[in-house]
């Protein structure tokens, strides 16, 4: 199974885009974000904690996410991240960019 060491290494900004997408459904704590990405990608994309948290904090600093302390599903105190208006906008731009990029890459790779 292929794992991604640091998503930033593959294509810069990819991890951030994935995080934005993960949070699109509603506020989540870091562990759930990692799990969701991993699960949704069918274990292809494994998000390392060493990359995830710096990315989350960086995005919080930049105002894409806002954080709030809440109670997790198993009654623990956890830090929940949520998209801000800025985050929503960023997700929109990023997904359009990604769609363009991936189809372009696909075109190139499928060329005979």
């Amino acid at each position: 199974m292929e794992s991604i060491h640091d998503s930033g290494d593959l294509i810069p900004g990819t991890l951030e885009m994935l995080i934005l997408k993960a949070l699109y459904r509603g506020p989540q704590h870091g562990y759930a974000v990692a799990e969701w990405i991993q699960g949704t990608s069918q274990q292809v994309l494994k998000v390392e904690e060493g990359a995830l948290y710096p990315a989350l904090h960086r995005m919080e600093l930049r105002g894409l996410l806002k954080a709030r302390w809440g109670t997790s599903e198993n009654n623990r105190r956890a830090k929940f991240y949520d998209l801000t208006a800025e985050g929503h906008k960023q997700l929109h731009t990023e997904s359009r960019r990604w769609a363009r990029l991936s189809s372009a890459v696909a075109f190139v790779m499928q060329a005979s």
Partner: protein
């Protein structure tokens, strides 16, 4: 843009909630780990396995924190904090360097600023009155380098009534007076002021009213004379009684009604004087009796005159206006054509100068010295900066290996420079703070020295913060700039080479080491100049004191007895003086007593034209004296006889002349028995010379003793005012003389006002106050300069020597003797001191000409002073070099080489 702003905000907030953030980060990670472990356990792993896997995945928790923390902080701030810690450690590790640098700055910035502040407070600070920039000081220019600032009453009144450029013209005269109470008499600082004084200064009273023009009219207002008192006098005399207005005070035997109290911050026109009682000028004749300055008219030059400019008039325009008005005022007030033509011959005209700082007699004395003092201030500041520069450079050179190591370990150039600059900054901050700490003590002791116990003068010794800020900024800039040099040098290319070579001298380093030494030489030169300057001024002062007045002022007291209001004249008056003199002579400690009409050095002049047979008319100073005068004054008698009490008018006019008069009027002739003549109202009056005496100074101790004729007081004509001054030669204190004189006079006639006693020694001191201050200040600066230079010489040599430890070790291992090593190190500073002294000598020779106008009887190239200054500097340099030389001699070769 928006995102960056958001970042900035959150990061700034993070500075304040740092603790909470750290805790939350840890909690967040712990949560993640716990969730992970739960999942693993759910998937069937044992607790231990889950624990291990989680640990493996997360690694060291601290690194995690570090990464997150970095995100949240300002990187530069964090770097700054680290650099600060590091710099403090570095500075603590070299306490010698740190102390030397801080001391230099404390001296250069602190001491220097203090002096500047005092002078500034004395001379430059504006008066605390509204729109002080519209005040001007009026003066009288004649054929002299400086205008005079004393006006006779008639000329002032003429100016007062004219209003072209000024909204008001006002005059004041400061003196001391006796204030009589039931319990006794006290002295108080008195200021006689003209009617527009208070309105011109635009100050409001604390209570009551100020003096007005109505008060300044003959005899005062219908209710008698009015007076305004200061806040301090209100406190001292009336204990702040609220009903003070309307109370009577008796000042110099004249009754005044207190009409107002001035607020505390009001200090009159002279920041140094702070008068306690203000009385109208018109009260002067009543207070001073028949010999008063007002009636003396154009013969008494006593009033300090200021004016307030009309709105929109510049001081220059006002100056032009008063100059233009001079002629008509002179003509209007001149008593006779002779007087007028004499004034016109001297190009007499009025001047107006900016006077926002008020009227300070000291400022007038200091007009030129001030520039010199500022130059000295600048010199010391420059010295301090140079010192720091050379120290820092020596240190920078010594640290090149350390810097190179850091660079090779991956430090960026920028960070390294930042760190070095921070070190410099810390030094200058600490030095400035130390300067601030020592400033008040220096200020107080210096002003105490300056005033020499004159309690009636107050100097504001508060540090002028602007000046301090300036000095601090200069030193800061210097430190930073100089700190930058080693930083840049050290981080320039080719450093790896240096690291490899370690302490071994390379050419580049040799050059680097030259610069601090050149700077030190420059410093020595500067210090030498300051020492020479101080030496010249001090020697001039000593010569002034030594050349002195001609008479011996030590133990000489002058007692003024006011007889103007008494009926005694002629024979009876002489009898009175003779009797008082005899009584005074019987007092304990009194060696001799005589009388004089004009008190020398009191800036009073009596002169007329005399001529010898066949000679031309010459202006000769005169005085009227009693027998034993020359013995009392300790003036040598070169020939002839002293006056006698029975030298009467009937026996023909007798005179005694001084050597200067003999040389002028009767060159090469024996003056004894010769006759001098004076033309008076068409008659020729002959005077027979019966004696020749030594020269004595008359008006001013700086001026040569003028040709002088002494008349016996027994031959005084009826027009001469009858108040004489006793001169008393004392051995021992003058403690009881004042009360004794009072008792003697009172016994003869209780109507006679209490005599005023003043010490001639004090008068000489006061007349030399500018020279004393200059000598004192220059001495202080020279001392500072010497200390700074010594510190610098020691510091740079100590550094240079420390760097050469290994080299010296090798030398010694190869057989160099300890003495040789010590001599080698010592020789380094000798070369610096020698070069500096040579340069300083050259500059001092050229520059000392600037001092010539301050010097009395001292050549600007006095070889003794130059030699002395060089010896002093040589001693200082030797002392500063001795310690490093000895330390070098004590180096243990084995250990020194192993260090490498």
């Amino acid at each position: 843009m928006k995102q960056q702003w958001h970042e900035l905000m959150l990061r700034s907030r993070a500075i304040f909630v740092k603790r909470r953030m750290e805790k939350e980060m840890a909690e967040e990670l712990a949560f993640h780990q716990a969730m992970l472990k739960e999942k693993l356990v759910r998937q069937g792993a044992s607790h231990e396995e889950a624990e291990r896997t989680a640990r493996l995945r997360f690694g060291d928790g601290r690194r995690w924190h570090e990464r997150l923390r970095e995100l949240w902080q300002f990187r530069w701030l964090e770097n700054l904090r680290r650099d600060l810690k590091y710099s403090l450690r570095v500075l603590r590790k070299s306490p010698g360097f740190t102390c030397v640098a801080i001391l230099t700055l404390a001296l250069g910035v602190g001491a220097n600023t203090t002096v500047f502040s005092i002078i500034n407070g004395l001379l430059l600070r504006p008066l605390p009155v509204p729109e002080s920039d519209r005040l001007v000081v009026l003066g009288i220019a004649q054929d002299q380098p400086n205008p005079s600032y004393s006006f006779p009453e008639p000329l002032f009144r003429a100016l007062e009534s004219r209003h072209e450029a000024f909204s008001s013209v006002f005059a004041s005269f400061s003196t001391e007076a006796d204030v009589k109470a039931d319990t006794g008499t006290e002295r108080a600082r008195l200021q006689m002021v003209s009617g527009d004084f208070f309105s011109g200064l635009e100050v409001a009273p604390l209570m009551g009213r100020v003096l007005t023009r109505a008060d300044d009219s003959k005899g005062g207002s219908p209710a008698g004379f009015a007076a305004v008192i200061s806040d301090s006098f209100w406190q001292r005399w009336f204990n702040r009684a609220s009903n003070v207005v309307g109370q009577k005070i008796r000042v110099d035997n004249t009754v005044f009604t207190v009409v107002g109290v001035m607020p505390k911050r009001f200090m009159g026109v002279n920041p140094l004087e702070r008068p306690e009682i203000f009385v109208p000028l018109a009260a002067e004749p009543a207070m001073d009796g028949a010999q008063n300055l007002t009636t003396a008219g154009l013969h008494a030059w006593w009033l300090n005159t200021m004016a307030r400019l009309q709105p929109g008039v510049s001081p220059a325009q006002a100056n032009a206006q008063v100059e233009a008005a001079s002629q008509s005022i002179l003509r209007e007030r001149a008593p006779d054509a002779n007087w007028l033509s004499k004034r016109e011959g001297e190009h007499f005209h009025f001047v107006a100068e900016p006077g926002s700082a008020g009227f300070t007699y000291i400022r007038l004395i200091f007009r030129k010295p001030l520039v010199a003092v500022f130059a000295m201030c600048g010199g010391v500041l420059l010295l301090a900066c140079l010192n720091l520069a050379s120290l820092l450079m020596a240190r920078g050179a010594a640290r090149q290996k350390e810097l190179a190591t850091k660079l090779s370990m991956g430090a960026t150039r920028g960070r390294l420079i930042q760190q070095l600059l921070l070190e410099s900054l810390l030094i200058s901050l600490a030095g400035t703070a130390a300067g601030l700490a020592v400033a008040p003590a220096i200020g107080e002791s210096l002003s105490a020295l300056l005033l020499g116990g004159q309690t009636e003068i107050n100097i504001d010794t508060r540090l002028d913060l602007r000046v301090f800020a300036f000095a601090a900024l200069v030193s800061l800039a210097a430190t930073l700039l100089v700190g930058l040099v080693p930083a840049l040098q050290a981080t320039s290319s080719g450093l790896n080479e240096q690291m490899k070579q370690g302490q071994h001298t390379t050419q580049a380093q040799e050059r680097n080491r030259m610069l601090p030494r050149v700077m030190m030489a420059f410093e020595v030169a500067l210090a030498l100049m300051l020492v020479v300057g101080a030496g010249l001024l001090t020697s001039s002062l000593v010569k002034l004191y030594r050349s002195g007045a001609g008479f011996d002022p030590r133990g000489l007291e002058s007692i003024a007895i006011s007889m103007d209001h008494q009926a005694l004249r002629g024979e009876a008056l002489m009898q009175f003086y003779r009797q008082v003199g005899e009584e005074l002579a019987r007092q304990p400690g009194v060696k001799a007593v005589s009388w004089q009409w004009v008190v020398p050095l009191a800036h009073m002049t009596w002169d007329e034209s005399f001529y010898a047979p066949g000679g031309k008319e010459e202006d000769i100073h005169e005085n009227s004296i009693a027998p034993d005068y020359f013995k009392t004054m300790r003036l040598p008698m070169f020939g002839g006889r002293d006056f006698r009490w029975n030298d009467r008018a009937a026996s023909g006019q007798k005179i005694i002349i001084n050597q200067a008069a003999a040389n002028l009027l009767l060159p090469g002739r024996n003056p004894l028995g010769q006759v001098l003549s004076k033309k008076d109202k068409g008659k020729v009056i002959p005077y027979e010379i019966v004696g020749v005496v030594g020269d004595a100074k008359y008006e001013d101790i700086r001026q040569a003793a003028p040709p002088t004729i002494y008349h016996p007081m027994t031959q005084a004509d009826a027009e001469q005012p009858p108040s004489f001054n006793a001169v008393v030669r004392l051995e021992g204190g003058s403690g009881e003389l004042a009360s004794a004189a009072r008792a003697i006079v009172q016994k003869i006639n209780p109507e006679i006002p209490a005599p005023k006693i003043s010490s001639m020694e004090t008068m000489v001191d006061e007349s030399l106050s500018a020279e004393r201050t200059m000598a004192l200040l220059s001495g202080f600066f020279a001392l500072c300069a010497l200390m700074v230079t010594a510190i610098g010489l020691y510091g740079t040599l100590a550094y240079a020597t420390a760097r050469r430890t290994a080299e010296i070790g090798i030398r010694m291992a190869l057989g160099a003797k300890r003495m040789q090593v010590a001599r080698m190190v010592f020789a380094q500073n000798s070369a610096v001191a020698l070069a500096g002294s040579a340069a300083g000598l050259a500059c001092a020779l050229l520059g000392s000409k600037l001092l010539s106008s301050f010097l009395y009887g001292t050549s600007v190239r006095d070889p003794w002073i130059f030699a002395g200054a060089i010896v002093v500097l040589a001693l200082i340099a030797s002392a500063a070099s001795l310690l490093p030389a000895l330390r070098a001699a004590r180096i243990e070769p084995v250990r020194a080489i192993r260090c490498e």
